[in-house]
Symmetry: C2
Subunit: 219 residues, 2 copies
């Protein structure tokens, strides 16, 4: 084993864990901004996304530098390539939190989320925060069981996504087309956050076991 390879890889892993923690926090704060129509909080989430982007750039630079200096092969090489793919997914999770905050900002001082959908978005937000925590833990511990739990929780998120459409098309829905458009996009952002978490989980399973999970993430 080349000296330094594992130190470099640990540094990359730490950065990915930090990114996952930050996107979890961003989701939590973006949801509060949405539900409370809190413009200042929304602006803060939007501004903070650059921190996540910066760590992503750092991960990618480190990974390319590591490839050039250490020239890893076999499993070591796969770990570096996978780290870059995971940084891309987690960075995208941060973008989705930012998108939630932008909807809150767009509708301020109004509330983007109509009363009949508040509770379901609270549930979606809880799941996405848990997903971010589990992604962080799964990366830190190379934990396959955590990865499997992520897939299960993502399915709950998909179910809530479907429920939102059910509420919107029900004759009792009365908050209008604009709120329906917002809710459709917001729900899609939560659902995509879950897809990316699952994508990271699958990559961990593949790295640890060499087995590719069957399911397509985004079907």
């Amino acid at each position: 084993m080349r000296t330094g390879f594992h130190e470099d890889l640990d540094r990359i892993s730490d950065d990915l864990v930090q990114m996952a923690t930050l996107v979890g926090t961003a989701m939590s704060r973006a949801t509060i901004a949405l539900l409370d129509a809190d413009l200042q909080l929304a602006e803060s989430v939007i501004a903070s996304d650059t921190d996540i982007d910066t760590i992503r750039d750092q991960v990618d630079e480190l990974a390319v530098d590591l490839l050039a200096r250490q020239q890893p092969v076999a499993t070591d090489l796969r770990m570096v390539v996978t780290a870059m793919q995971m940084s891309s997914s987690i960075e995208r999770m941060g973008d989705l939190a930012e998108h939630l905050a932008k909807v809150a900002r767009l509708r301020y001082p109004d509330h983007a989320v109509p009363p009949e959908l508040r509770e379901i978005f609270v549930q979606m937000s809880k799941i996405t925060q848990e997903l971010a925590e589990r992604v962080a833990a799964a990366i830190a511990d190379k934990d396959v069981s955590a990865a499997e739990e992520i897939e299960k929780r993502d399915q709950e998120l998909d179910e809530l996504h479907r429920q939102i459409f059910g509420i919107l098309v029900d004759p009792s829905y009365s908050s209008g087309v604009e709120a329906a458009i917002d809710a459709t996009l917001l729900s899609r952002y939560f659902e995509r956050f879950g897809d990316h978490a699952t994508s990271v989980a699958y990559r961990i399973v593949y790295l640890v076991t060499g087995r590719r999970p069957n399911a397509e993430v985004d079907d």
Copy 2:
């Protein structure tokens, strides 16, 4: 220069061009399936997405294999890493075409797109097909001016995306909430297709010039 490196890289580039061509065709066919409520065509687009996924897997395998065998550094290394990032973006463009087809299938025998939005979706479809062609050409020719043209066309797509929301919230809109939800998601899929095309274009600019375009793709 190590023997074989450029042959390997050309093979990867050819595969990326083929992927871009396939996602352009998929967008074209998915739009027809949507506008004509053509179930068979929708099913065909959905089934064909695995072809795109297969080439993406092939690109990623080739790239990892190339890294292991050739151990490129500097610009050569960046080209291989960038190819993997581009394969991911183009594969995602294929998923978005598949999503359009799935909406067509979900609403069949009804039309998912209400009459007042047909023309605008036709325009979005034309732009996305052109974007796919330009992405293919930009990869094949490492053409920075093609990449710049992609960014411009993507902005037209973003403008159409905004126009759709304008139509949906106009008091004259009368096709109901379900059609508005569908249109919101469909428009989002077209718009994201453009974002991914722009992301590929930016990567080409960076590879060729060493300069990172300033704009964030997804803001």
